[in-house]
Each structure stands twice: as C-alpha cells, then as structure tokens.
C-alpha cells in the first residue's frame, strides 16, 4: 500500500464534477442574492442573478443527467449503494475516527481502495445529495421556470409558493452538504490532496 496511486475518478466524472461544482457555487450566490438582496445594497443586480441562476440551473441539470447516465453505464454507481443494516455502527466508527482516532494517528477504519472509494459517511451523503436533493431541486426549479406546469393551489396555498419553498429548502441542504463536503475532503495529512485527486483523477494514499 506504500505510496501507490489509485485511479478513482475517470475523466467524465471529473468533467462533470468540475462543471457541477462551478455551477452550484454560482447558483448558491445568485440564489442567496435573489432571496436576501436589498434595493440599497444588492449583492448582485437582480436581473443578472436571474439570468445567471437560470443558465447555471439548466447546465447543472444537464450535468445531472450526464452523471446519472454515467453512473448507470460505468461501475461508478456501485459506490452509491449502501445497506441500511449496520449503518449506524459504520457511521459511529467513521465519526469516532474523525473525532478522535484521526488525531491519535490510528489507521482509517475504511481505507480507500478501488472497490471502496467512499467511507460509509461519504457513501450515504453522496447518495442522498445526488439521488434525493439534486432531483428535488431540479424538478422544483423546472417548475419555477415554467410556472404554468404547477398546480394552482394545494390546500389553499399557492402551488408556486410551495414549489419555491421546496426549492429553497433543497438549495439550502445542498449548500449545507457542500460546506461539509469541502471540509471533510480536506481531512488528511495534506489538506489539498483530495482536491488534487478530483482534478487529476489519481488518489495518492498516505
């Protein structure tokens, strides 16, 4: 295991990930600006926000389809499947590693290999992000882009209102995911190592 390289992220995945990351970051800032902007000090002019948000939303949605198809056609999809049984125990192990084992220099409970490129926490959080949050945010986004698709009223509350609520809650969860995603990726001897991997494709073991 000494210092050998694993090829974990094939080209299509890296291209998707790069485009997706840029889009999501822009979507986050334009979304925040539209929701919390103020006439007196707009973060980004509203009109710019709307156009940018629409554009990036469409690109990220197309990217999402690429990701799903890619995962379906290649073996990459395997990494997103998990069993519920024993999940708690595996989570506990990984969390204890981040919280204490890691500082004591203990070995990783789930070392990275080509068969298991994600630890249990990553596995579940990536699966939720990609198979729950992204579809919901995309469908509600399409609804807001074409409001005529939305049912007028649900229990006397505007359909657009509910869709927008769903969209912003999901958007928030994705932002929350991103924060933790970015931090956890920096855990390791060299904080930048994982970032290099998602660009080069190769993972260097510690």
């Amino acid at each position: 295991m000494e210092n050998h390289k694993l090829y974990l992220y094939p080209v299509w995945l890296r291209v998707w990930h790069g485009i997706n990351a840029i889009c999501i970051i822009i979507l986050m800032f334009t979304g925040l600006s539209m929701q919390y902007g103020n006439i007196d000090y707009p973060l980004i002019p509203f009109k710019t926000s709307v156009s940018l948000h629409n554009f990036c939303g469409v690109v990220a949605s197309v990217g999402f389809i690429v990701f799903i198809v890619g995962n379906f056609l290649s073996d990459n999809g395997i990494h997103y499947r998990f069993k519920i049984r024993g999940l708690y125990k595996r989570f506990y192990k990984q969390i204890m590693y981040y919280a204490s084992g890691y500082f004591k220099g203990e070995p990783k409970p789930y070392p990275i290999s080509e068969e298991f490129k994600f630890n249990p926490l990553q596995r579940v959080s990536y699966a939720i992000a990609m198979y729950v949050l992204m579809p919901l945010v995309i469908f509600s986004g399409i609804g807001l882009l074409y409001p005529e698709l939305i049912v007028e009223k649900i229990f006397n509350i505007g359909g657009v209102q509910l869709t927008a609520l769903l969209h912003s809650i999901m958007g928030f969860f994705i932002a929350f995911f991103l924060l933790i995603h970015l931090y956890v990726a920096s855990i390791g001897k060299n904080p930048l190592r994982n970032y290099k991997s998602i660009i080069s494709g190769y993972h260097e073991s510690d």
């Binding site: 500082f103 657009v160 931090y183 855990i187």
Partner: protein
C-alpha cells in the same frame, strides 16, 4: 336527408326561442325606462319606425354606443335610470342633434363633497388625476370616464372577496382598453401608439408579470394616503428596478398587496411574510422567519464543529 333538415330547423327554432327568452330575462331586470333605451343600446341591432318611408327599419348599432346590460346591473350605479345622467329628450328617436352637445357628468359632479362616500377620497383622486401625464397631455379630454365606465363601474381592489388575480386583470383592462386599442387611443392623439410588448421587453416573463402586477404598480408613486394612486408619472419615472418588487421592502406591499397586508398586519410575526402573499410568490419578497432561524442554527453548528476540528488539527500537529 330531409329528416335531417327538419331536425336542424326544429333545433334552430328552439335556439332562437331560448335566445329570445334569455335576452328578455336580462332586460326584465332593468327598470322600464331603462329597458326602452336598452332595446336599442343593449343590442348590436336596433329597429325604429321610419316616419318618412313609413316602414319599420333595422340597422346596426354603433359598437361604441352599446351598453352591456348585465354589467350595468352589477355596477354601483345600477339603480340609476338612464335619464338621471342623460337628457330625457333621448326618449325619442332619432335623437335630437343638439343632444350631442350636452355636457356629460363627471364623477365629481355627483361625488364631490359627498360625505357618504368620503372614504373613497374623490377629491384627492381628482388632484392626482390632474397631475397625471394624461391630464397634462390632453386636459379636459381625459376625464375619469376614460378609465371608469359609468355604466359598469364597480370597485374591485376594495372588495375583500377579490382575488389578487382579479384585481390585476380588471385594473390592467382599464389601461389596455386604450393602450391596446388604436381606435380609442386615436381619439386623443395622432401620435403612433407605442407597442407595449416591445416597450416592456426589458422585463423577463412579461406575460407572467402582466398577469400578476398592475400597470399602476410601476407607473405611479407609492402613496400611503390613498387606496389607488391615480398619478400616472412620465415614463422616465416608471419603476424598472427588479428589486423594487423583488425584495423584502417590496413596493408591492404599499400597492397591490396593501389590501391584504392591512388585514394581516396584526399577525406580524411568524409566517407573516408568506401568509400575506398566499396568492402570489414574489422572489425575494417572501421570507420565512422560521426557516431562516433553522438554517442559521444548522450552518452555525456546522461552522463551530469545523472550527473545533481545525483547531484540534493545528494543535495535534505541533
């Protein structure tokens, strides 16, 4: 073949009869003297006895002189007889030529200084109209009646039962009845009529906007003293900043949503932001206090966790 023809004829016969019945029922609701005028002014055709040829004659009614009798019965002036506002000489046909010169009533002729309806603020409205672009351009030619048809007028925004959608479409119809109608527009001016769709093409989702906001939202200033601002400003002063509406201090609160906002002001807390706009979602103007708090707590927690972890990493390294 002949059977079919008989069926069709019978069918048509009943159609005609039922149409006549309906028409008569509508007019039965009108008072007797109004029905006399509506016999001609309520239909596309009118008939009269031509005393020269000594024959009954049928002719087309000028479409601009047709009064919608159903709308008349729903308007605020439904109890009026036509002759209350028009000279009783109209009873005879052909109408006497000098009747054309008869001055028409303006709202203020009856409602000026009217205590009963003081809450409509007719005098204040008149001052605003006097300062509007239309009055400046056309003077007395542009009276209240250009927007308010006295034969069908009824308040919409003030009516608590009106949906925002209904308010918007009724109010915009007043402007569009002229700005989208060359024959009415040209009574006032020979200038070419600006095409609204192209002068407003800076606005994305134009159709959606025109269905959800009124023209006066952008073309009048915000006022607190009057229910519906009547002061149409020159086009240079129109609202064109998206964030005037799409932000928490949206001007719509002082305009279109004023009516609902007033009722709900007492429940300022909690879902105030989203509840008062139950019928509309304006990006940036609806915010939910509970969601804001929850998301701040979650983000704060994550940041604290990360900060502690970073601190430990730095300490352990040394």
């Amino acid at each position: 073949m002949r059977n079919k023809l008989v069926y069709i004829l019978v069918f048509l016969f009943f159609q005609v009869i039922s149409f006549k019945l309906i028409a008569q029922e509508d007019q039965a609701n009108l008072s007797k003297s109004n029905r006399h005028c509506a016999n001609c002014h309520g239909n596309k055709y009118y008939s009269f006895f031509n005393s020269v040829t000594e024959q009954d004659q049928r002719k087309r009614m000028n479409p601009f002189f047709i009064i919608d009798t159903v709308a008349y019965k729903q308007g605020v002036h439904r109890e009026f007889s036509c002759e209350d506002c028009h000279a009783s000489e109209y009873n005879t046909y052909p109408h006497a030529p000098e009747l054309k010169l008869e001055p028409k009533f303006s709202c203020l002729d009856c409602h000026g200084g009217d205590e009963t309806y003081a809450h409509y603020q007719f005098e204040d409205i008149e001052i605003e109209v006097d300062n509007s672009v239309h009055k400046n351009a056309f003077g007395f030619q542009f009276g209240c009646a250009q927007c308010h048809d006295l034969h069908s007028y009824k308040p919409v925004a003030r009516n608590k039962k009106s949906l925002i959608k209904e308010i918007v479409s009724a109010d915009n119809q007043m402007c569009l009845s002229c700005h989208n109608n060359l024959s009415k527009y040209q009574i006032l001016t020979d200038h070419t009529k600006p095409e609204l769709l192209s002068t407003h093409d800076w606005l994305p989702n134009q159709e959606l906007h025109f269905m959800h906001v009124r023209c006066i939202e952008c073309h009048t200033p915000v006022t607190d003293t009057i229910m519906v601002s009547h002061k149409i400003l020159p086009k240079e002063k129109a609202v064109h900043l998206c964030s005037d509406c799409h932000s928490t201090n949206s001007i719509l609160r002082g305009k279109l949503y004023k009516y609902t906002a007033k009722q709900l002001r007492s429940t300022e807390k909690g879902f105030y932001n989203s509840m008062f706009l139950n019928e509309a979602y304006v990006i940036g103007a609806n915010r939910n206090i509970y969601l804001n708090i929850i998301s701040l707590i979650m983000l704060g927690g994550a940041f604290i966790g990360i900060a502690i972890h970073i601190a430990l990493r730095i300490i352990k390294k040394k």
